[in-house]
């Protein structure tokens, strides 16, 4: 653990500037949304909006973990697709079989991530090309598992994940809270979590400090696979079906959520909290556009523009460089 001198825990604004910026943007978007549609903050709409962003939050966090190690995972969408198809083909009406299928899906996701991790960490191949290849493989397997859209997902399962507990609390919100409180916060402080930041900051330094870099990377990709599997499970709940052609978009969108949330592609900076905010910024834009009766084609444009704007703002520091050499940091 970090050997910080004991001092008063002040909230350093600058350290969290990216996260705060993301939250600001999100809140502004919500305000605009509310202005456009009076029903924006009614319970059904809140639930629907929350549901829209869950899968992206999960895949975003998965991608964030990997980007923190200065890697990239282009197979996240394919793992989501594969998970969705496995769920749709393995689920049965009863409670036990459905839960069993869910566990199986998570295992499949973990296995996919594990393979990625093996190839990257032990195979010493560049993540971008490894995951590009495995994305094709997992997509192909998904097509084998479910050649045509369909399959079976119990309705009670769909209602459970996308509905509301006690008719007030959206299940999606519970999922998000669990994700942050039960997973991310403890993870960030754990040895593995700290190792991931170290590896992303400077792999050689981490190695020389005794971090088992290979194992850290392997575990990172595996966990990312599990999260992507979870996203697939949620997708099944939303669509109540399996579709081997759906899910690919999560790859690039998870990168967007990660970046908008303030995680740096150089590695070592950022976190899942920002990513979840980024995921919702990304998903709320289409809703806001729809409410403002703007052409839906602008959605792609605005999502791309937000991405470019985010990194440009993040790079504003470059323009203040006095020494030209700093530019190459």
């Amino acid at each position: 653990m970090s050997a910080e001198p004991v001092r008063k825990k002040t909230f350093n604004i600058m350290r969290h500037s990216r996260l705060l910026l993301a939250w600001t943007v999100l809140i502004l978007l919500l305000i605009v949304f509310r202005i456009m549609t009076p029903v924006a903050f009614t319970l059904p709409i809140i639930t629907a909006t929350l549901n829209q962003g869950i899968a992206l939050s999960l895949t975003g966090v998965a991608q964030t973990l990997i980007v923190l190690t200065a890697g990239i995972d282009l197979s996240i969408g394919a793992i989501v697709t594969l998970s969705n198809t496995v769920a749709a083909t393995q689920m049965r009406p009863g409670v036990a079989p459905t839960l069993g299928a869910a566990v199986l899906v998570l295992l499949v996701g973990s296995l996919c991530g594990f393979i990625n991790g093996l190839l990257v960490a032990y195979g010493r191949l560049a993540p971008i090309i490894v995951t590009l290849a495995t994305a094709a493989i997992y997509s192909g397997i998904a097509l084998y598992v479910l050649p045509n859209p369909g399959g079976f997902v119990p309705e009670w399962y769909g209602d459970l994940l996308t509905g509301r507990a006690f008719n007030t609390l959206p299940a999606a919100l519970i999922i998000l809270v669990l994700l942050v409180v039960l997973f991310w916060l403890p993870f960030k402080r754990s040895v593995l979590g700290q190792s991931i930041y170290a590896v992303g900051s400077s792999e050689s330094s981490a190695r020389m400090s005794g971090v088992n870099v290979r194992r850290a990377k392997l575990l990172t990709y595996t966990i990312a696979g599990t999260l992507s599997g979870a996203a697939g499970l949620f997708l099944s709940a939303q669509t109540l079906a399996g579709d081997a052609t759906q899910g690919g978009s999560y790859t690039l969108n998870s990168i967007a959520a990660t970046v908008i949330g303030g995680t740096s592609f150089a590695g070592g900076v950022g976190g899942a909290g920002g990513t979840i905010v980024g995921a919702y910024i990304f998903t709320i834009i289409p809703s806001v556009l729809f409410a403002a009766r703007v052409s839906p084609f602008m959605k792609e444009f605005l999502q791309g523009a937000i991405l470019v704007l985010t990194i440009t703002i993040g790079a504003a520091g470059v323009l203040r460089m006095k020494n030209r050499l700093d530019i190459l940091r």
Binding site: L119, G123, A133, I311, L319
Partner: protein, 328 residues
């Protein structure tokens, strides 16, 4: 231990000094041969000149893209704005020419200019603002997509002027002009990479931008120029696609973006930048195109094709040796 093998010397000349994976290049061409043979076994008509020419025509669209992709990847960056640059530029051509032959020159010039402009934006962002190329080009791609959709109203209207068909259907010295164009540009690329100052700066920038910069090389200009070249290549690919298909489709560029990167890597270029040659990428392009054709011939389902495609990429990476990854 002096093996002055004739083929190694020829390849030496072609790839230049810049540390290219000669083994990978030779293996890649070997696989091209294997694929042609397998195709011939599955269907004797496959190796007929007409059929092979058709394969080359298909390869030329991807091939032009890989020229730009190679240049960018050599500098240690990546261009993910391929798909919608292609699409937007083909829309530009059809919009300017409105299906007539009269304004074809203006159409092509404008399309290439648009491609160059997109490349310029990408390049400036990466070189001067230090934006990560993957994310920037991703964002730009999204913006181009939105732009194209708004401009076309999501209606894929627009037919290609008949004269473009000549690029695919016509014959110069027995070859379709598009193939000659690709191979001609490819030769030019090989020459530039191996023998010119600009080519050298690409390699050194990819190897270590800091060292290059300190050595007095204008790395930022190199990067900007690399992205401009990529943009122009993507635009050209859009025009070639238009020649082949006769009309504009939406998302016409999607099937080309990732395979272009795969082709570059299969061709022995390091994804981290700094080493590789276009000689190998030509083979990489051919491998991908032939692989798809051979798998279709063998009646492999699309699912199986995807799996084999992925396994093939991984397999070749392992076989090439891990000299690039070991540099970490």
């Amino acid at each position: 231990m002096n093996e002055s093998n004739a083929s190694t010397t020829v390849i030496n000349r072609l790839v230049g000094q810049a540390g290219s994976n000669r083994r990978a290049i030779m293996l890649a061409y070997f696989f091209v041969l294997v694929l042609v043979v397998v195709g011939g076994i599955l269907a004797p008509g496959f190796v007929a000149p007409a059929s092979l020419t058709q394969q080359l025509v298909l390869a030329s669209v991807l091939g032009v893209i890989t020229i730009g992709a190679t240049v960018v990847i050599l500098t240690g960056n990546i261009d993910l704005s391929v798909s919608w640059t292609m699409n937007l530029c083909s829309v530009v051509v059809t919009a300017v020419t409105v299906g007539e032959n009269t304004k074809i020159v203006q159409g092509i010039v404008l399309a290439l200019a648009v491609g160059a402009a997109i490349g310029l934006i990408n390049g400036l962002g990466v070189a001067y603002l230090r934006l990560p190329s993957m994310v920037l080009t991703l964002g730009v791609n999204g913006m181009l997509r939105g732009l194209t959709l708004v401009v076309t109203g999501a209606q894929p209207k627009g037919t290609a002027p008949g004269i473009l068909q000549w690029l695919v259907g016509g014959r110069i010295l027995g070859m379709p002009p598009c193939v000659l164009l690709w191979l001609g540009l490819g030769m030019l690329t090989i020459f530039v990479l191996a023998r010119t100052y600009f080519g050298r700066t690409l390699y050194t920038t990819g190897n270590s931008q800091t060292v290059s910069f300190l050595s007095g090389i204008r790395t930022q200009r190199t990067v900007v120029l690399a992205f401009v070249i990529s943009g122009v290549c993507n635009a050209l690919a859009g025009i070639l696609f238009l020649s082949y298909s006769g009309q504009v489709y939406l998302s016409l560029g999607e099937p080309y973006q990732m395979p272009a990167i795969a082709a570059v890597v299969i061709g022995g270029v390091s994804i981290l930048g700094g080493s590789g040659s276009y000689v190998g990428v030509i083979a990489g392009t051919l491998i991908l195109v032939l692989l798809q054709s051979v798998l279709s011939l063998a009646n492999v389902k699309y699912a199986g094709q995807l799996i084999i495609y992925g396994v093939a990429i991984l397999g070749m990476l392992f076989v090439y040796g891990r000299s690039a990854a070991d540099r970490e």
